[in-house]
């Protein structure tokens, strides 16, 4: 199993970067044959900030092709799995082995949240626009964020502080003047209908976290919000549409893979993309193109953008009564190579748990194998809870 696609520097404060975050000294592949060996001329803002804060880039962690899959299984360099077939995410396995102290991960379709929950680690998906995406390979720009995984909530907080903040090079970066002060978490809503879609072991994790919260005097109430499950379908459509546009740049001309078998320009384009892209990526490109087609634009793309607002307003309504929501990050506690062979599009189903935060850009924190989603800029409060869980809840 290939955890690091390229090794970086040694050091006490080594951080792994998902292989969609551009570095000048190491290649960046996005887990795709298309970019095998590609070296960027500039580095991501998060990589620059990380090093300025005294961290070293420990290497590039293996990811699924363009990070849209379940747990990295579509990587051109192979899935990462244990001997018994259990899928692991490369960055989390590097953390588990103590090879790095933290990982910067691209949260496109929830894989880092899923992986941290399965690994019993911590992860913070920051509020959209608070961490620069300059120099990250674009996939689904309207919702993707750079997040931080670590074995403690405190490390997540420290590394996030090192990379967060306004960046004029990113057009979606939020000026610090827009940030609001987070409230302490005193009341939590448990998304009962989404939790019920998970298996018994996962529901037990949610129940255990609820018990921990209540032991700290934080009130928990079960709520049902019907439209939350629509986030999955809408995010799958929006993500595919944006992916389709973003990967249209890979044509075998200026950089990336070029097929050796062509006699004209069409064969060059088609051969390069067909040979370099994996099956799941091809499917999602075609789905995205379908969503954006004249016949489907209104009922699929436009509808999904409206559903995004419906979900955002449902969250806003919840946050008038609760300080954050609690839900699982995945449907079960173990995924295997066999699972993704049986259904290569499993990530689209698992988006039920991760899409609500992806489609709205809201921050999420993983701790105790479960997911907290809060209002914009509330990651610090959620990390307080996660940190407390780390000290007292286990």
């Amino acid at each position: 199993m290939k955890l690091m696609i390229n090794e970086g520097s040694a050091g006490e404060k080594r951080v792994a970067l998902d292989d969609l975050i551009l570095t000048k000294d190491l290649p960046t592949t996005a887990g795709s044959k298309m970019l095998d060996g590609y070296v960027s001329l500039f580095e991501a803002e998060v990589a620059t900030r990380l090093q300025k804060a005294g961290y070293t880039i420990g290497g590039k962690a293996n990811v699924g092709e363009f990070a849209i899959d379940l747990l990295g299984e579509t990587s051109y360099f192979g899935a990462c799995a244990k001997e018994d077939g259990t899928l692991v995410y490369a960055a989390n396995e590097l953390l588990e082995k103590g090879e790095v102290c933290a990982a910067l991960q691209m949260d496109v379709n929830g894989a880092p949240r899923r992986a941290a929950a399965l690994a019993g680690q911590y992860y913070v998906k920051p509020t959209y626009g608070t961490v620069s995406r300059f120099g990250t390979i674009p996939v689904a720009c309207s919702g993707e964020t750079v997040g931080v995984a670590a074995t403690t909530a405190e490390t997540c907080r420290q590394v996030l502080a090192a990379v967060a903040g306004y960046d004029e090079k990113d057009g979606t970066s939020l000026p610090q003047s827009m940030y609001t002060q987070p409230k302490d978490i005193k009341k939590v809503a448990i998304l009962a209908d989404i939790t019920a879609a998970a298996d018994a072991d996962t529901q037990a994790k949610v129940a255990a976290f609820q018990a921990f919260l209540e032991s700290k005097g934080i009130a928990c109430e079960k709520v049902e919000v019907e439209c939350m499950s629509a986030a999955k379908t809408a995010w799958n459509a929006l993500m595919a549409a944006e992916l389709c546009n973003n990967v249209s740049r890979y044509d075998g001309v200026k950089y990336g893979y070029r097929t050796p078998n062509y006699t004209n320009i069409d064969e060059l384009y088609t051969g390069s993309r067909t040979e370099a892209f994996g099956d799941v990526l091809k499917t999602m490109i075609l789905f995205g193109s379908d969503v954006l087609s004249t016949n489907n634009y209104e009922k699929m793309y436009d509808k999904s953008l409206r559903i995004r607002r419906v979900v955002a307003e449902a969250f806003a309504d919840l946050f008038t009564k609760y300080d954050c929501v609690l839900l699982p990050a995945c449907a079960k506690q173990r995924y295997t190579v066999e699972d993704v062979k049986a259904d290569q599009y499993l990530a689209c189903q698992e988006a039920l748990f991760t899409a609500p935060a992806s489609i709205t850009g809201l921050p999420a924190v993983i701790a105790g194998g479960v997911q907290l989603v809060g209002p914009a800029f509330s990651e610090s409060s959620m990390l307080d809870v996660a940190q407390c869980y780390g000290k007292e809840g286990k």
Binding site: Y128, R306, A312
Partner: protein, 93 residues
């Protein structure tokens, strides 16, 4: 969704699927279509589209180059070049 539409999508996206892939992709697309159909149960007639998740619109900056790269640097990752140009097969007959 039928094979004819899929053929058009393949062509537009410069991709070529095998027959087996076509079956799998069609099944997936039909599944997504039926899930998207179900969204019609949510009335969004008076709901505005949400393009940006945060209250920020298209940002513009001064039209000044922030990064400068030489032609040699830009062509380092090129599959094929000739005399400082990217090389492709003849495009205009």
């Amino acid at each position: 969704m039928d094979k004819e539409v899929l053929r058009r999508l393949e062509k537009e996206n410069q991709l070529q699927l095998t027959d087996t892939q076509k079956e799998t992709v069609l099944a997936f697309l039909n599944q997504q279509h039926s899930q998207l159909e179900k969204l019609s149960a949510i009335d969004t007639e008076s709901v505005e589209r949400m393009v940006h998740v945060m209250p920020i619109n298209t940002v513009v900056r001064e039209d000044v180059a922030m990064q400068k790269f030489s032609r040699e640097d830009l062509q380092k990752g090129a599959p094929e070049t000739m005399d400082g140009y990217w090389q492709v097969p003849r495009v205009v007959e």
